[in-house]
């Protein structure tokens, strides 16, 4: 969407990522999703009288890892702060977050959009605790009561605030995609927007084209998918443009995106509701981030998705779309390269091989695996070298592509290598011209009507003949060869 003339669009995104730690931010309760309500809580995460928080080191490590991947400066010292507001999903009626001294600042995230790559500034990255879940008996508007589940309360959250440098809803969606790819790749977050492990709020304002002064910004909440981010922002930009065109003033407020009704609705919260009364958390001591720890984490950073994609496209000639799919997770990207290297140790753009590996992963492997995450990939019954082995057999004509798909299923079920299965079941492709010619001849003799149809222009008839030949060979005939021989024979009739 281009910005509605005569306005420039200014968007900033705040992304909250739930960190993949085993235990919560400030206590030892587990973070697993989907447990029975209020069964993963303790006095600390329920904010009972007398309890105290203790920082989870791995959450800090994940924060540092992400900060480094985003080119941020990891601060020498950081502190936690209390952020006060009343809501029943927040046990203490304050959230332990970070305010004046966050973990990291001043980073950048590169996004790819139609016009080319852009670098979007990241203002800050900090750690905080998540809140519980509210269920309403009905909708929020009609419910007479609400129910609270504190399982999620205390789960570590990493909040990243972008600079207001996104210029369109499309860029915002691209930013979110790129951000998700980074955190999933780093293994710090599972990026599941449906389950709420990745959440996004946006700040949108419009200003006259070319003006330096920022317009009034509106906060948009409840953006729970990439698509909704884009749709909500498109709506909001239109709404603000219409209002400004009509000479109205934009109210600084928070609006909720209602996906079903495709509009943003004012939450009517007045400014004073946001007096968070921040002060340094007295129950937690400052963190002085050891530089050696930071360097250790930096050394352990994997190649990030964007860099991986660029390299793979350049090195192997893989289409960008494939590279994008393969960087859904680090495990998947690693699997791809491992399989390719097994087949082609030089791992250069050697003909069709890089694309074949990619095709088989995308259309076959991902279909049978329970997920694309590390655990799913590592527990795959088909390790990279087995896939490579299968593809080798296709390339050298030992089996047809169709047979290979069956073999693949069998490999998945048994964990055996392709040659073993092919050998045992006699699936080797029939590529003997003489033998095939004979079979074709008998099929043609048995189907005179098909030949008539073909001569009259019905090319489908030829396909039927091919089918008969394949049937006669138990599917093992080399299809390309069958087609050629059949074509020759048909043209001779």
């Amino acid at each position: 969407m281009t910005a509605p003339a005569p306005y420039d669009v200014v968007i900033g995104l705040e992304v909250h990522a739930q960190l993949l730690t085993r235990s919560k931010m400030f206590c030892g309760c587990p973070t697993t999703f989907g447990a029975r309500p209020n069964s993963q809580t303790c006095p600390v995460c329920q904010g009972m009288p007398g309890v105290l928080p203790v920082v989870n080191r791995r959450a800090v490590e994940f924060g540092i890892r992400t900060a480094l991947a985003l080119g941020c400066r990891v601060n020498e010292a950081c502190r936690f702060a209390r952020k006060h507001y009343y809501y029943p999903d927040m046990p203490k009626n304050y959230q332990i977050s970070q305010y004046e001294e966050p973990l990291a600042e001043d980073g950048v995230l590169e996004i790819d959009i139609d016009g080319g790559p852009r670098a979007i500034g990241i203002q800050r990255l900090h750690l905080e605790e998540d809140v519980g879940k509210l269920l309403h008996e009905g909708t929020l508007e009609t419910a007479q009561a609400s129910l609270v589940d504190f399982n999620r309360s205390g789960v570590p959250l990493m909040e990243t605030v972008s600079r207001p440098e996104l210029r369109s809803p499309e860029e915002a969606a691209a930013y979110l995609r790129a951000f998700r790819a980074v955190v999933v790749f780093l293994g710090v977050c599972d990026g599941n927007m449906e389950e709420g492990s990745l959440r996004c709020d946006a700040n949108v304002s419009l200003r006259p084209r070319g003006s330096a002064r920022l317009g009034t910004k509106v906060e948009i909440k409840n953006l729970n998918s990439f698509r909704n981010v884009q749709r909500a922002l498109e709506f909001e930009v239109r709404r603000q443009a219409q209002a400004l065109d009509a000479g109205e003033r934009i109210v600084q407020e928070t609006r909720l995106w209602e996906a079903d009704r495709a509009y943003t609705r004012s939450m009517r919260s007045k400014e004073y509701a946001h007096d968070y009364r921040y002060f340094p958390e007295p129950d937690l001591v400052p963190l002085q981030i050891d530089r050696r720890w930071v360097e250790e984490i930096r050394t352990g950073l994997p190649e990030l998705p964007r860099a991986w994609r660029r390299r793979v496209v350049a090195q192997y000639g893989l289409p960008p779309y494939d590279a994008e799919v393969l960087t859904q997770s680090r495990a998947l990207a690693d699997y791809y390269e491992a399989a390719l290297r097994e087949w082609e140790p030089a791992a250069a753009a050697a003909g069709d091989r890089p694309k074949m590996v990619s095709n088989w992963i995308m259309s076959e492997l991902l279909r049978v695996l329970p997920g694309d995450d590390e655990r799913a990939i590592q527990s795959s019954p088909i390790p990279p070298r087995h896939l490579a082995g299968l593809l080798r057999l296709i390339e050298d004509g030992t089996i047809s592509g169709k047979i290979a798909k069956d073999v693949f299923q069998k490999m998945f079920a048994s964990g055996e290598a392709a040659p073993t299965i092919v050998g045992r079941e006699g699936l080797t492709q029939v590529a003997d011209e003489a033998a095939l010619s004979q079979i074709i001849a008998s099929v043609m003799a048995a189907n005179p009507k098909a030949i008539e149809d073909f001569k009259r222009g019905r090319t489908a008839a030829a396909k039927a003949l091919v089918g008969q030949v394949m049937k006669a060979t138990g599917g093992k005939a080399n299809p390309a060869l069958v087609n050629r021989l059949l074509e020759d024979k048909l043209s001779q009739t």
Partner: protein
Amino acid sequence: MHRPIHELTDAYRRGDLTPTAVAETYLARIDALDGRVGAYLTVVREQALAAARESELRWRAGAPLGPLDGAPVALKDVLCTVGVRTTCGSKMLESFVPPYDATTVERLRAAGAVILGKTNMDEFAMGSSTEHSAFHPTRNPWDLTRVPGGSSGGSAAAVAGALAAGAFGSDTGGSIRQPAAFCGVVGLKPTYGRVSRYGLIALASSLDQIGPFAQDVTDAALLLGAVAGHDRRDSTSIQAPVPDYSAELRKGIAGLTLGLPDEYFIDGMDPDVERAVRGAIEVLKGLGARIERVSLPTTKHSLAAYYVILPAEASSNLARYDGVKFGLRVPGRDLVEMESRTRAVGFGAEVKRRIMLGTYALSAGYYDAYYGKAQSVRTLVRREFAAAFARVDLIVAPTTPNVAFKHGEKEDPLSMYLNDVFTIPGNLAGIPGVSVPCGFGATGLPIGLQLLGRPLDEARVLRAAYAYEQATSWRSRRPDLA
């Protein structure tokens, strides 16, 4: 029968007394007399007797857990005790039963202490007289028309009135030391971070500490030793090892330099208090200590700084009391109404006042002028103590400017706040302090001498207190409750 814990355990060892007999005696005394004193909110008779029986078995087997095994103690109702209601002196928590023990309570149980019950306090530890308990006031065993001090008035009165052999309280601005002085017992506030705050219902997180009330300094050392030390559940708790406080007690004070701060002898002080404290200083000199003047100029601003910091942190800590998950709930047509009514009914006037003050101090536009400023003044207070301790080993001063006043005498909040003017600086600086009896006023009410030490120097503080105590006999005088 009112013997200090160390004499009780000697008797257990010799077989002259048993933990059960002693527990029974205390429980009977509580039954008979606490109606008049009001030291207790909850007495856990069955639990106490069960613990006493177990202690007795250990003593008989010659395998006591340590110097507190079988010691009957009381706990200020600000400490969470599993399965036993913990009210914090407030209607808000009248029905709250914690599902966990505070670390201090765990350690006391592990030491074999016999917990008799939970004692009365000013609501949410806000007060200096225990008149602000939502349930009933506590009365000073020396004169039942007077207050025992606060906020740990119940624990102080229990020890003074022989309703417990020892007790624990909490001190945020003097809430152990001041009632100890008013009730003529020993009261110790440790260095901030020396005793775990896990399970202590928070008032002001950067000021609160748990500490013992005792009949004598020997007991205070034992009680502190049982609970002090690092706790991984409290991020502000200190790693430093805990010395054997008892071993250091008898070292004496010859050669120590004691600082006498100019600012702690103020106009309007009770002349009896000044006289008693100066008399104590002469005793200390006689024991070989050198006295030097020190100046702590920011003392006069400590009260103001404290009354910004405390309400600010307290307003935050008390935000969780909203009728949602535990405690009182007053119905409302919607959530906000329910919460607002619950807090209006559940909190008393003093608590509401401080919550309002604290919320205001933290609110937009006022942070720098109040909270920020107060925390900087606090730094000055710390620096002044540090500079003084470069020249002296301990600071000696009165604990309070007055003796126990009559119930209802201090209605005005500001005049109540002035009770803590000598104890507050120690909390701002996070240093250890003890109050030890040093005489009586004309009205027969006890007076306390305060000793303040360097961070983590409880051993020296106790040693000086011990030397003074042993050179005098104030502790042999007891209130006559019967």
